[in-house]
């Protein structure tokens, strides 16, 4: 695994860099075993090394330092400072977690509730000193935009929580009763127990209503709206269809006063809808699964 930092170093510098890392690993291993063991399980040593690298990378990023700082400064001091960076990430994640626990619709989905419960355990079990790359919790709830899988430890958790809060901020723009009704309509098998994302059906419904200029309050389409959607989207020109959806996304984001992240998420989701819209158009324009009419 190479994060690319050493790509800017000469061969000689890269070797010196590895030697420094190796010294740090030996020191961390000694700390971890409290000097009582000269050897470690390979997995433990690997986790310690990953933790060192992630912490240093985060510290260099935060301080705007080049990777060869490790050769120019005391590595022990750098690692201690980097631990501080990781702890700050944990603090920020805790704040985000407090916000996430106030998600308006968490009672609507079991996996979301269980995931939030499990994240509470993360803050008790996470070890920023030795295992910054570990994620001691179970994250099952599916977000609309998956978090970058290359992220690890608290960085993954923070990105996950940020996305959850973004999705929740969007959901909180709508009447919870209407959201529940819409979720029940698009997921008749039971959105409460299944591993479904709550944002997607609501975003689709709201985008549909924006396209047909219908009222967002009840999140319900009409027969007339469906006919309008077919007329708007039936073009064979896929670029035009994409443009239509993106414009609807931008209008909806402005109307709901979404922030930058919320707008980006909505626009990406609008683009993701294209294949599903194409499938509906090919199979006979039954929009109920995407833009439902609520009874």
């Amino acid at each position: 695994m190479d994060c690319g930092l050493t790509a800017f170093l000469t061969e000689e510098e890269a070797l010196a860099y590895q030697t420094r890392l190796w010294q740090l690993l030996a020191r961390q291993a000694e700390r971890y075993t409290m000097g009582k063991s000269t050897s470690l399980r390979r997995e433990t040593a690997q986790a310690l090394l990953t933790s060192i690298c992630l912490s240093l990378e985060a510290y260099f990023r935060e301080q705007g330092l080049p990777p060869n700082t490790l050769m120019r400064s005391d590595p022990e001091m750098l690692l201690r400072a980097a631990e501080g960076t990781v702890r700050r990430q944990v603090k920020r994640s805790q704040l985000l977690y407090c916000r996430a626990c106030r998600c308006v619709l968490q009672e609507e989905n079991l996996s979301l509730r269980e995931t939030l419960g499990s994240i509470a355990a993360f803050f008790r079990a996470y070890d920023p000193r030795f295992f910054a790359g570990e994620l001691p919790c179970d994250i099952d709830y599916q977000l609309c935009r998956p978090v970058d899988e290359s992220l690890q430890g608290v960085w993954y958790l923070r990105a996950w929580l940020e996305q959850l809060v973004t999705e929740d901020a969007f959901l909180s723009c709508f009447d919870p009763a209407a959201v529940r009704q819409l979720l029940a309509a698009v997921c008749p098998e039971g959105h409460r127990e299944l591993l479904v994302n709550l944002y997607e059906p609501v975003a689709a419904g709201a985008l549909g209503l924006t396209l047909t200029e219908g009222p967002l309050d009840g999140l319900s389409q009409t027969r007339r709206g469906w006919a309008q959607l077919t007329a708007l989207l039936e073009t064979p020109d896929l670029e035009k269809r994409r443009w239509t959806l993106e414009q609807a996304g931008k209008r909806l984001a402005r109307r709901l006063e979404l922030g930058q992240q919320g707008t980006a998420c909505l626009l990406e989701y609008a683009r993701d809808l294209l294949p599903r819209i194409g499938a509906v158009l090919e199979s006979g324009t039954d929009w109920q699964a995407l833009f439902p009419i609520l009874e």
């Binding site: 890392l21 291993a29 000694e30 075993t33 470690l40 040593a45």
Partner: protein, 144 residues
């Protein structure tokens, strides 16, 4: 930043550790030849790889030598072989304890087992640490 473990252990660390052993045990008539040192270093790497472990610095060899050197059952002619077998047993037992037992305790038991086997260290190989401790009536470690 390369996050993969590589080049473990380092040969110069092992070489330094073995020189140190020679310096300390020579007065007791225990000396490793250059060839034996080389074999010990290779076996160390092999033992670590076989037991899925990583070790830093000179490793366990100096402490192992110190633990075994004054055994009445040690034949100076088998010194290198004792260290080779001893380090393999040590890493196996460390792996078996799941890292919960300090080196010192494992080494103390290794020495006890060596004496129990009257220096026939190869005889210990067929046993797990648990079996051997039961057989020897050893008091359980508090971490067990």
């Amino acid at each position: 930043m390369d996050r993969e473990l590589a080049a473990i252990p380092r040969h110069e660390d092992t070489a330094r550790a073995l020189e140190d052993i020679n310096r300390r045990t020579a007065p007791m008539g225990l000396r490793l030849t250059k060839e034996e040192c080389l074999t010990l270093a290779e076996r160390r790497e092999q033992a670590l790889a076989d037991t899925g472990r990583v070790e830093f610095g000179g490793g366990i060899l100096p402490a192992l030598a110190e633990a075994m050197a004054d055994s009445p059952y040690l034949d100076p002619a088998d010194w290198a072989e004792t260290l080779m077998e001893g380090q393999l047993l040590f890493y196996q037992w460390k792996a078996e304890t799941g890292d919960r037992v300090p080196d010192r305790a494992v080494l103390a038991f290794l020495r006890k087992a060596f004496d129990y086997a009257r220096g026939a260290i190869a005889c210990l190989e067929g046993f797990s640490l648990k079996e051997l401790r039961e057989r020897m009536g050893d008091r359980p470690w508090t971490v067990d």
